[in-house]
Point group: none
Chain length 220, copies 2
Protein backbone atom coordinates (compact mmCIF):
# COMPACT_ATOMS: atom_id res chain seq x y z
CA UNK A 1 0.00 0.00 0.00
CA UNK A 2 1.41 3.36 -0.95
CA UNK A 3 1.20 5.36 2.24
CA UNK A 4 2.85 8.43 0.71
CA UNK A 5 -0.03 10.87 1.31
CA UNK A 6 0.01 9.89 4.98
CA UNK A 7 3.75 10.41 5.21
CA UNK A 8 3.79 14.16 5.36
CA UNK A 9 0.63 14.30 7.45
CA UNK A 10 1.94 11.91 10.03
CA UNK A 11 5.24 13.73 10.58
CA UNK A 12 6.72 10.76 8.74
CA UNK A 13 10.31 11.54 9.69
CA UNK A 14 9.42 11.51 13.36
CA UNK A 15 8.42 7.83 13.08
CA UNK A 16 10.86 5.02 13.72
CA UNK A 17 11.33 2.47 10.95
CA UNK A 18 9.20 0.01 12.93
CA UNK A 19 6.42 2.57 13.22
CA UNK A 20 6.64 3.39 9.53
CA UNK A 21 6.22 -0.28 8.69
CA UNK A 22 3.27 -0.52 11.06
CA UNK A 23 1.52 2.32 9.24
CA UNK A 24 2.24 0.89 5.80
CA UNK A 25 0.98 -2.54 6.76
CA UNK A 26 -2.22 -1.23 8.28
CA UNK A 27 -3.54 1.33 5.85
CA UNK A 28 -6.74 0.21 4.17
CA UNK A 29 -8.66 1.65 1.26
CA UNK A 30 -12.39 2.28 1.68
CA UNK A 31 -14.84 3.21 -1.06
CA UNK A 32 -18.23 4.84 -0.60
CA UNK A 33 -21.12 5.49 -2.94
CA UNK A 34 -22.52 9.00 -3.12
CA UNK A 35 -24.67 9.72 -0.03
CA UNK A 36 -23.37 6.64 1.83
CA UNK A 37 -22.89 6.96 5.59
CA UNK A 38 -19.18 6.94 6.41
CA UNK A 39 -19.33 7.57 10.15
CA UNK A 40 -22.35 7.11 12.39
CA UNK A 41 -22.77 8.82 15.75
CA UNK A 42 -20.38 7.32 18.30
CA UNK A 43 -18.36 5.46 15.64
CA UNK A 44 -14.59 5.54 15.89
CA UNK A 45 -13.03 4.46 12.61
CA UNK A 46 -9.55 5.91 12.88
CA UNK A 47 -7.47 8.43 10.96
CA UNK A 48 -9.01 9.17 7.56
CA UNK A 49 -7.42 10.60 4.45
CA UNK A 50 -9.63 11.40 1.48
CA UNK A 51 -8.01 10.47 -1.84
CA UNK A 52 -11.06 11.00 -4.06
CA UNK A 53 -14.45 12.65 -3.60
CA UNK A 54 -15.61 14.62 -0.59
CA UNK A 55 -16.98 13.91 2.86
CA UNK A 56 -19.50 16.06 4.69
CA UNK A 57 -19.42 16.09 8.50
CA UNK A 58 -22.56 17.09 10.33
CA UNK A 59 -24.12 17.21 13.76
CA UNK A 60 -27.50 15.64 14.35
CA UNK A 61 -29.96 17.01 16.89
CA UNK A 62 -32.37 14.86 18.85
CA UNK A 63 -35.10 16.02 16.53
CA UNK A 64 -33.08 14.84 13.54
CA UNK A 65 -32.00 18.29 12.38
CA UNK A 66 -28.66 18.28 10.57
CA UNK A 67 -26.02 20.99 10.71
CA UNK A 68 -23.08 20.68 8.34
CA UNK A 69 -19.89 21.55 10.22
CA UNK A 70 -17.09 20.88 7.75
CA UNK A 71 -16.09 19.06 4.59
CA UNK A 72 -13.02 16.91 3.89
CA UNK A 73 -11.71 16.99 0.34
CA UNK A 74 -8.95 15.18 -1.60
CA UNK A 75 -5.60 15.27 0.19
CA UNK A 76 -7.21 16.33 3.45
CA UNK A 77 -7.43 14.19 6.49
CA UNK A 78 -9.65 14.02 9.51
CA UNK A 79 -8.97 12.94 13.08
CA UNK A 80 -12.46 13.54 14.47
CA UNK A 81 -13.27 10.13 12.99
CA UNK A 82 -10.86 8.79 15.63
CA UNK A 83 -12.44 10.49 18.63
CA UNK A 84 -12.04 7.39 20.85
CA UNK A 85 -8.26 7.79 20.53
CA UNK A 86 -8.51 11.16 22.30
CA UNK A 87 -9.15 10.67 25.99
CA UNK A 88 -11.37 13.20 27.71
CA UNK A 89 -12.83 14.37 24.44
CA UNK A 90 -16.45 13.68 23.76
CA UNK A 91 -17.70 14.87 20.47
CA UNK A 92 -19.99 13.05 18.11
CA UNK A 93 -20.04 13.86 14.47
CA UNK A 94 -21.64 12.05 11.55
CA UNK A 95 -20.07 11.84 8.11
CA UNK A 96 -21.43 10.99 4.71
CA UNK A 97 -19.87 10.78 1.27
CA UNK A 98 -21.10 13.85 -0.58
CA UNK A 99 -19.77 12.36 -3.80
CA UNK A 100 -18.48 8.91 -4.67
CA UNK A 101 -15.41 8.81 -2.45
CA UNK A 102 -12.26 6.88 -1.74
CA UNK A 103 -10.44 7.02 1.58
CA UNK A 104 -7.31 5.71 3.20
CA UNK A 105 -7.91 4.56 6.75
CA UNK A 106 -5.47 3.92 9.58
CA UNK A 107 -7.63 2.04 12.10
CA UNK A 108 -8.09 3.43 15.59
CA UNK A 109 -6.18 0.55 17.25
CA UNK A 110 -2.91 1.14 15.42
CA UNK A 111 -3.44 4.90 15.49
CA UNK A 112 -3.92 4.82 19.25
CA UNK A 113 -0.76 2.75 19.69
CA UNK A 114 1.25 5.28 17.66
CA UNK A 115 -0.09 8.26 19.61
CA UNK A 116 0.82 6.55 22.86
CA UNK A 117 4.40 5.69 21.96
CA UNK A 118 5.30 8.74 19.86
CA UNK A 119 4.69 12.27 21.13
CA UNK A 120 4.96 13.70 17.58
CA UNK A 121 2.01 11.62 16.42
CA UNK A 122 0.16 12.60 19.57
CA UNK A 123 0.88 16.22 18.77
CA UNK A 124 -0.33 15.71 15.20
CA UNK A 125 -3.58 14.22 16.51
CA UNK A 126 -4.41 17.03 18.89
CA UNK A 127 -3.25 19.76 16.54
CA UNK A 128 -5.56 18.45 13.82
CA UNK A 129 -8.38 18.01 16.31
CA UNK A 130 -8.01 21.55 17.67
CA UNK A 131 -8.04 22.89 14.13
CA UNK A 132 -11.25 21.04 13.24
CA UNK A 133 -12.91 22.00 16.51
CA UNK A 134 -12.10 25.63 15.83
CA UNK A 135 -13.80 25.25 12.42
CA UNK A 136 -16.86 23.62 13.98
CA UNK A 137 -17.05 26.34 16.62
CA UNK A 138 -16.97 28.97 13.94
CA UNK A 139 -19.99 27.39 12.30
CA UNK A 140 -21.84 27.09 15.60
CA UNK A 141 -21.11 30.73 16.41
CA UNK A 142 -22.49 31.69 13.02
CA UNK A 143 -25.70 29.91 13.77
CA UNK A 144 -26.04 31.22 17.29
CA UNK A 145 -24.93 34.77 16.80
CA UNK A 146 -25.01 35.83 13.18
CA UNK A 147 -28.11 37.00 11.43
CA UNK A 148 -29.45 34.54 8.91
CA UNK A 149 -29.11 36.96 5.98
CA UNK A 150 -25.39 37.16 6.57
CA UNK A 151 -25.07 33.41 6.87
CA UNK A 152 -26.95 32.83 3.66
CA UNK A 153 -24.85 35.43 1.85
CA UNK A 154 -21.71 33.77 3.13
CA UNK A 155 -23.00 30.39 2.00
CA UNK A 156 -23.59 31.68 -1.54
CA UNK A 157 -20.21 33.40 -1.73
CA UNK A 158 -18.44 30.23 -0.65
CA UNK A 159 -20.54 27.99 -2.90
CA UNK A 160 -19.58 30.16 -5.91
CA UNK A 161 -15.95 29.84 -4.94
CA UNK A 162 -16.23 26.05 -4.71
CA UNK A 163 -18.20 25.81 -7.95
CA UNK A 164 -15.89 28.22 -9.76
CA UNK A 165 -18.90 30.04 -11.22
CA UNK A 166 -22.00 32.02 -10.38
CA UNK A 167 -24.73 29.54 -11.26
CA UNK A 168 -25.32 27.16 -8.38
CA UNK A 169 -27.26 23.93 -8.82
CA UNK A 170 -28.76 23.72 -5.37
CA UNK A 171 -32.24 23.44 -3.90
CA UNK A 172 -33.58 25.52 -1.03
CA UNK A 173 -33.89 22.27 0.90
CA UNK A 174 -30.17 21.56 0.51
CA UNK A 175 -29.23 25.08 1.59
CA UNK A 176 -31.50 24.76 4.62
CA UNK A 177 -29.86 21.51 5.66
CA UNK A 178 -26.43 23.01 5.25
CA UNK A 179 -27.30 26.03 7.35
CA UNK A 180 -29.28 24.17 10.00
CA UNK A 181 -32.40 26.07 9.08
CA UNK A 182 -35.85 25.44 7.62
CA UNK A 183 -36.63 25.48 3.89
CA UNK A 184 -39.22 28.22 4.32
CA UNK A 185 -36.65 30.47 5.98
CA UNK A 186 -34.22 29.93 3.11
CA UNK A 187 -36.92 30.56 0.49
CA UNK A 188 -38.04 33.76 2.19
CA UNK A 189 -34.50 35.10 2.45
CA UNK A 190 -33.62 34.11 -1.13
CA UNK A 191 -36.72 35.94 -2.34
CA UNK A 192 -35.52 39.03 -0.49
CA UNK A 193 -32.08 38.66 -2.06
CA UNK A 194 -33.77 38.31 -5.45
CA UNK A 195 -35.85 41.47 -4.93
CA UNK A 196 -32.63 43.29 -4.07
CA UNK A 197 -31.02 42.07 -7.31
CA UNK A 198 -28.43 40.00 -5.50
CA UNK A 199 -29.51 36.67 -6.99
CA UNK A 200 -31.79 35.22 -9.64
CA UNK A 201 -33.86 32.19 -8.75
CA UNK A 202 -34.50 29.33 -11.18
CA UNK A 203 -35.78 25.80 -10.92
CA UNK A 204 -33.15 24.06 -8.80
CA UNK A 205 -30.66 26.87 -9.37
CA UNK A 206 -29.57 30.06 -7.67
CA UNK A 207 -27.59 32.44 -9.86
CA UNK A 208 -25.52 35.09 -8.15
CA UNK A 209 -25.98 38.44 -9.94
CA UNK A 210 -24.15 40.80 -7.59
CA UNK A 211 -21.25 38.98 -5.94
CA UNK A 212 -19.85 42.19 -4.41
CA UNK A 213 -23.19 42.92 -2.78
CA UNK A 214 -23.30 39.46 -1.27
CA UNK A 215 -19.74 39.73 -0.08
CA UNK A 216 -20.50 43.05 1.60
CA UNK A 217 -23.46 41.43 3.30
CA UNK A 218 -21.37 38.40 4.32
CA UNK A 219 -18.72 40.65 5.84
CA UNK A 220 -21.36 42.42 7.88
Amino acid sequence: MDATPFFQLLYWDALTEKEQNLVEENIRTLRFEKNALVLGGGDCLGLLLVTKGRLRAYLLSEEGREVTVFRVGPGECCVLSASCVMSQIHFETHMEAEEESELLLLGSGVFRQLTEENVSIRCFLYEMAAERFSEVLWVMQQILFMGFDRRLALFLVEACRRAGGQQLKVTHEQIARDLGSAREVVTRMLRRFSEEGLVELGRGTVTVKAPEGLERLADG
Copy 2:
Protein backbone atom coordinates in the same frame (compact mmCIF):
# COMPACT_ATOMS: atom_id res chain seq x y z
CA MET B 1 8.99 32.55 41.56
CA ASP B 2 7.72 29.14 42.55
CA ALA B 3 6.67 27.58 39.29
CA THR B 4 5.72 24.26 40.90
CA PRO B 5 2.11 24.24 39.78
CA PHE B 6 3.23 24.71 36.18
CA PHE B 7 5.73 21.90 36.42
CA GLN B 8 3.37 19.02 36.10
CA LEU B 9 1.14 20.79 33.64
CA LEU B 10 3.96 21.62 31.32
CA TYR B 11 5.30 18.07 31.10
CA TRP B 12 8.13 19.46 33.23
CA ASP B 13 10.45 16.51 32.69
CA ALA B 14 10.25 16.96 28.95
CA LEU B 15 11.84 20.42 29.28
CA THR B 16 15.58 20.92 29.09
CA GLU B 17 17.24 22.69 32.02
CA LYS B 18 17.51 25.81 29.90
CA GLU B 19 13.79 25.69 29.12
CA GLN B 20 12.94 25.11 32.77
CA ASN B 21 14.92 28.22 33.71
CA LEU B 22 13.17 30.18 30.99
CA VAL B 23 9.78 29.25 32.44
CA GLU B 24 10.81 30.04 36.02
CA GLU B 25 12.18 33.42 35.04
CA ASN B 26 9.12 34.39 33.06
CA ILE B 27 6.17 33.41 35.19
CA ARG B 28 4.26 36.39 36.50
CA THR B 29 1.50 36.65 39.08
CA LEU B 30 -1.64 38.57 38.16
CA ARG B 31 -4.45 39.56 40.52
CA PHE B 32 -7.97 40.52 39.55
CA GLU B 33 -10.88 42.01 41.44
CA LYS B 34 -14.23 40.27 41.25
CA ASN B 35 -15.88 40.98 37.87
CA ALA B 36 -12.69 42.37 36.35
CA LEU B 37 -12.05 41.63 32.68
CA VAL B 38 -9.14 39.20 32.35
CA LEU B 39 -9.16 38.64 28.59
CA GLY B 40 -10.83 40.85 26.00
CA GLY B 41 -11.82 39.66 22.54
CA GLY B 42 -8.73 39.15 20.39
CA ASP B 43 -6.36 39.39 23.37
CA CYS B 44 -3.56 36.86 23.62
CA LEU B 45 -2.11 36.82 27.13
CA GLY B 46 -0.40 33.46 27.23
CA LEU B 47 -0.72 30.29 29.28
CA LEU B 48 -2.79 30.87 32.42
CA LEU B 49 -2.92 28.89 35.63
CA VAL B 50 -5.50 29.85 38.26
CA THR B 51 -4.12 29.65 41.80
CA LYS B 52 -7.05 31.32 43.58
CA GLY B 53 -10.60 32.26 42.61
CA ARG B 54 -12.34 31.39 39.37
CA LEU B 55 -12.46 32.65 35.79
CA ARG B 56 -15.50 32.56 33.55
CA ALA B 57 -14.98 32.28 29.79
CA TYR B 58 -17.74 33.48 27.52
CA LEU B 59 -18.52 34.23 23.91
CA LEU B 60 -19.94 37.59 22.98
CA SER B 61 -22.27 38.09 20.05
CA GLU B 62 -22.25 41.23 17.96
CA GLU B 63 -25.40 42.28 19.74
CA GLY B 64 -23.66 41.88 23.10
CA ARG B 65 -25.28 38.61 24.10
CA GLU B 66 -23.05 36.50 26.37
CA VAL B 67 -22.81 32.72 26.41
CA THR B 68 -20.73 31.17 29.20
CA VAL B 69 -18.66 28.36 27.75
CA PHE B 70 -16.44 27.18 30.61
CA ARG B 71 -14.91 28.07 33.96
CA VAL B 72 -11.31 27.75 35.16
CA GLY B 73 -10.85 27.00 38.85
CA PRO B 74 -7.84 26.66 41.21
CA GLY B 75 -5.15 24.35 39.87
CA GLU B 76 -6.61 24.44 36.37
CA CYS B 77 -4.99 26.07 33.43
CA CYS B 78 -6.17 27.49 30.16
CA VAL B 79 -4.50 27.73 26.77
CA LEU B 80 -7.33 29.46 24.91
CA SER B 81 -5.91 32.65 26.44
CA ALA B 82 -2.89 31.98 24.20
CA SER B 83 -4.78 31.58 20.94
CA CYS B 84 -2.21 33.56 18.95
CA VAL B 85 0.32 30.82 19.74
CA MET B 86 -1.79 28.34 17.79
CA SER B 87 -1.47 28.95 14.08
CA GLN B 88 -4.54 28.37 11.94
CA ILE B 89 -6.83 28.58 14.94
CA HIS B 90 -9.17 31.49 15.19
CA PHE B 91 -11.31 31.54 18.23
CA GLU B 92 -12.16 34.52 20.34
CA THR B 93 -13.21 34.11 23.91
CA HIS B 94 -13.62 36.65 26.68
CA MET B 95 -12.75 35.97 30.31
CA GLU B 96 -13.65 37.65 33.54
CA ALA B 97 -12.82 36.96 37.16
CA GLU B 98 -15.98 35.53 38.67
CA GLU B 99 -14.44 35.95 42.12
CA GLU B 100 -11.35 37.78 43.35
CA SER B 101 -8.67 35.75 41.55
CA GLU B 102 -4.96 35.13 41.34
CA LEU B 103 -3.25 33.69 38.28
CA LEU B 104 0.15 32.61 37.12
CA LEU B 105 0.91 33.71 33.60
CA LEU B 106 3.50 32.50 31.13
CA GLY B 107 3.42 35.20 28.45
CA SER B 108 2.63 34.29 24.86
CA GLY B 109 6.13 35.17 23.60
CA VAL B 110 7.97 32.68 25.80
CA PHE B 111 5.16 30.16 25.49
CA ARG B 112 5.33 30.35 21.70
CA GLN B 113 9.11 29.87 21.78
CA LEU B 114 8.72 26.76 23.93
CA THR B 115 6.03 25.23 21.69
CA GLU B 116 8.25 25.81 18.67
CA GLU B 117 11.36 24.18 20.06
CA ASN B 118 9.80 21.36 22.11
CA VAL B 119 7.24 19.01 20.61
CA SER B 120 6.04 17.92 24.08
CA ILE B 121 5.03 21.46 24.95
CA ARG B 122 3.42 21.77 21.56
CA CYS B 123 1.49 18.58 22.27
CA PHE B 124 0.45 19.92 25.67
CA LEU B 125 -0.84 23.10 24.04
CA TYR B 126 -2.98 21.37 21.43
CA GLU B 127 -4.20 18.68 23.78
CA MET B 128 -5.43 21.30 26.24
CA ALA B 129 -6.95 23.32 23.41
CA ALA B 130 -8.79 20.33 21.96
CA GLU B 131 -10.15 19.50 25.40
CA ARG B 132 -11.47 23.03 25.95
CA PHE B 133 -12.92 23.20 22.47
CA SER B 134 -14.76 19.97 23.07
CA GLU B 135 -16.24 21.50 26.26
CA VAL B 136 -17.27 24.63 24.40
CA LEU B 137 -18.85 22.58 21.63
CA TRP B 138 -20.90 20.62 24.14
CA VAL B 139 -22.32 23.87 25.50
CA MET B 140 -23.06 25.19 22.02
CA GLN B 141 -24.76 21.96 21.05
CA GLN B 142 -26.93 22.14 24.14
CA ILE B 143 -28.00 25.63 23.20
CA LEU B 144 -28.61 24.83 19.56
CA PHE B 145 -30.10 21.41 19.92
CA MET B 146 -31.14 20.69 23.46
CA GLY B 147 -33.51 23.61 23.58
CA PHE B 148 -36.18 20.96 23.49
CA ASP B 149 -36.21 20.24 27.25
CA ARG B 150 -36.81 23.92 27.91
CA ARG B 151 -39.53 24.19 25.34
CA LEU B 152 -41.31 21.14 26.71
CA ALA B 153 -41.02 22.43 30.29
CA LEU B 154 -42.45 25.78 29.20
CA PHE B 155 -45.31 24.04 27.44
CA LEU B 156 -46.22 22.10 30.60
CA VAL B 157 -45.99 25.16 32.86
CA GLU B 158 -48.32 27.13 30.61
CA ALA B 159 -50.70 24.21 30.16
CA CYS B 160 -51.04 23.93 33.98
CA ARG B 161 -51.74 27.65 34.19
CA ARG B 162 -54.40 27.37 31.51
CA ALA B 163 -55.91 24.24 33.06
CA GLY B 164 -55.81 25.70 36.57
CA GLY B 165 -54.43 22.42 37.89
CA GLN B 166 -51.56 19.97 37.64
CA GLN B 167 -53.19 17.07 35.87
CA LEU B 168 -53.14 17.61 32.13
CA LYS B 169 -55.30 15.58 29.77
CA VAL B 170 -53.05 15.57 26.75
CA THR B 171 -51.41 12.96 24.53
CA HIS B 172 -47.77 12.94 23.47
CA GLU B 173 -49.03 13.32 19.92
CA GLN B 174 -50.84 16.57 20.79
CA ILE B 175 -47.79 17.97 22.56
CA ALA B 176 -45.60 17.07 19.59
CA ARG B 177 -47.94 18.86 17.21
CA ASP B 178 -47.98 21.89 19.45
CA LEU B 179 -44.20 22.07 19.64
CA GLY B 180 -43.55 21.18 16.01
CA SER B 181 -41.71 18.05 17.02
CA ALA B 182 -42.05 14.27 16.69
CA ARG B 183 -44.06 12.09 19.11
CA GLU B 184 -41.01 9.93 19.85
CA VAL B 185 -38.98 12.95 20.89
CA VAL B 186 -41.75 14.09 23.23
CA THR B 187 -42.08 10.61 24.73
CA ARG B 188 -38.36 10.31 25.30
CA MET B 189 -38.13 13.71 26.98
CA LEU B 190 -41.23 13.11 29.13
CA ARG B 191 -39.70 9.85 30.28
CA ARG B 192 -36.59 11.77 31.33
CA PHE B 193 -38.75 14.30 33.17
CA SER B 194 -40.52 11.40 34.87
CA GLU B 195 -37.22 9.83 35.97
CA GLU B 196 -36.26 13.20 37.46
CA GLY B 197 -39.52 13.32 39.40
CA LEU B 198 -40.80 16.33 37.50
CA VAL B 199 -43.90 14.61 36.09
CA GLU B 200 -45.90 11.41 36.39
CA LEU B 201 -47.11 9.77 33.20
CA GLY B 202 -50.53 8.15 32.89
CA ARG B 203 -52.76 6.98 30.05
CA GLY B 204 -53.55 10.17 28.15
CA THR B 205 -52.43 12.31 31.09
CA VAL B 206 -49.30 14.09 32.27
CA THR B 207 -49.33 15.09 35.94
CA VAL B 208 -46.89 17.76 37.02
CA LYS B 209 -45.27 16.76 40.34
CA ALA B 210 -42.63 19.46 40.73
CA PRO B 211 -43.88 22.74 39.20
CA GLU B 212 -40.94 24.76 40.58
CA GLY B 213 -38.48 22.37 38.96
CA LEU B 214 -40.20 22.73 35.60
CA GLU B 215 -40.32 26.50 35.92
CA ARG B 216 -36.61 26.60 36.64
CA LEU B 217 -36.01 24.49 33.54
CA ALA B 218 -38.33 26.65 31.45
CA ASP B 219 -36.50 29.79 32.54
CA GLY B 220 -33.21 28.25 31.47
